[in-house]
């Protein structure tokens, strides 16, 4: 690669201002790690931007890090300060704190695992074609499906099996622009008679489920990929087993799979 030409092309200036596509960003990242001269150039561009911005701000700001620190600590302080008057309330407070801590650690760990899982998904994605061709769908249908799942702007989320069915899994391919979610449930067991799977879009803080729809005719859908409309700003997806016709809110005891969207 002609590095001088690459630098002169102007791509690095666009890289620093954040004006490139995700794919181009990745390319620059790789080149940068291969060629120190490119990294030096990127740093110099960044410096120039920083200097100009600092000059605009002129150090007028009086805010300090302690303002921010107090805002990110705020939640913890609230819990600790709860009650002194009644003992049982204090115990409840501590118990809640402890539960929160354990919960947070668990979530942190879970989150890390999910992230690893998501990375693996990218590889798994490549294998998807194989997986799909194993299904009994007609070639045309498969081709159409492939085109959808290969779209550049599609996001792939792996939903992991939960307590009730640890070996289950599902995948969601979410095209935000088209507001469509393709639910691949080849990894779910067939639902028992009278029951149906229902898909939920979740926002996490506070945890709010929104119904995306039920997976009707599970057994006769040969490729086990369902298309649902998703207009939500989903942070996670979950699938529960519900009575026929679906439920208004998810039955969490019957939560089969759950996965967090890579932001």
């Amino acid at each position: 690669m002609d590095i001088e030409k690459y630098i002169k092309s102007g791509i690095l200036e666009l890289y620093v201002s954040g004006s490139l596509s995700e794919k181009e960003n990745q390319e620059v990242y790789e080149v940068m790690h291969q060629y120190p001269a490119v990294k030096t150039e990127v740093e110099a561009i960044e410096q120039a931007f920083m200097k100009v911005s600092e000059a605009i701000g002129n150090k007028q700001s009086d805010s300090s890090f302690s303002n921010i620190k107090s805002r990110i600590d705020a939640k913890v302080v609230e819990i600790e300060q709860v009650p002194q008057k009644r003992n049982w309330l204090a115990y409840a407070g501590w118990a809640a704190s402890a539960a929160l801590l354990v919960g947070s650690l668990w979530l942190f760990n879970e989150n890390r695992q999910l992230k690893e899982e998501i990375q693996i998904t990218n590889t798994a994605n490549t294998n998807l074609e194989d997986q799909i061709s194993k299904a009994n769908e007609s070639a045309e249908k498969m081709k159409a499906l492939n085109t959808i799942l290969r779209a550049e702007n599609i996001e792939s989320i792996t939903l992991e099996g939960q307590a009730i069915s640890p070996n289950a899994y599902a995948k969601v391919f979410w095209n935000k622009e088209a507001q469509l979610a393709y639910i691949d449930v080849a990894g779910l067991p067939a639902p028992p008679p009278g029951k149906v799977y229902q898909v939920w879009s979740l926002t996490l803080d506070p945890l709010t489920p929104t119904n995306l729809g039920i997976l009707e005719n599970f057994n006769t859908n040969e490729n086990k990929v369902f298309t649902l409309t998703n207009t939500n700003n989903s942070q996670a997806f979950g699938i529960t087993l519900e009575p026929e016709g679906g439920s208004a809110t998810p039955t969490l005891a019957q939560l089969y799979t759950l996965g967090v969207v890579k932001s």
Partner: protein, 176 residues
């Protein structure tokens, strides 16, 4: 400590590393926000929001997707633009075509303050208007290369090469 290390410790929620990053980037981010909201108190408010957001979503940063500077710049300009949007919405007027950079020197001239802007003058004065416009769109408004090409009615490749020339000029001025 290397920037990479600092960032990874920040992502592990190490508050000291976060404070270091704040020291490194808060002045420049304040400048970006100020250019957009044009009000000191509001800019400080947004600045705090930006760093709180950065802390909360630290895990979403990945070096593969871009520079840390670009990541935080993106949070800053989005938050600042949101701020003026909600303001113009409340006041029932549309000022979304507002300029953030092309007239930055004039703003200070109008503000009868004792603030020393000779530094900014030195950096920006020699820039041609087309350069200021380009920097405004790409850097302050977060346009993509393609969006800038449409907005300025110039070919995609020209955006790239013109911008390179403009930033080179800026870099020369910064080094002077």
């Amino acid at each position: 400590m290397q920037l990479e290390q600092l960032i990874s410790k920040f992502q592990e929620k190490d508050i000291k590393s976060f404070e270091r990053l704040y020291e490194m980037y808060s002045d420049s981010m304040f400048g970006v926000i100020y250019a957009i909201v044009r009000n000191k108190e509001e800019a400080e408010e947004v600045l705090q929001d930006v760093f709180v957001k950065a802390w909360k979503s630290s895990s979403s940063y990945s070096a593969k997707k871009g520079r840390f500077f670009t990541w935080i710049l993106n949070i800053a300009r989005n938050s600042a633009i949101d701020k003026i949007r909600s303001k113009s919405f409340n006041q029932g007027k549309q000022n979304l075509d507002a300029t953030f950079f092309v007239d930055i020197l004039e703003t200070y001239d109008n503000l009868d303050t004792k603030i020393d802007i000779s530094g900014l003058q030195k950096y920006v004065n020699t820039l041609r208007d087309t350069c200021k416009k380009l920097i405004e769109l790409l850097y302050f408004k977060g346009y993509t290369q393609k969006e800038a090409s449409v907005a300025l009615k110039i070919p995609l490749g020209t955006v790239k090469t013109n911008n390179r020339k403009c930033i080179s000029e800026l870099r020369k001025n910064v080094l002077k």
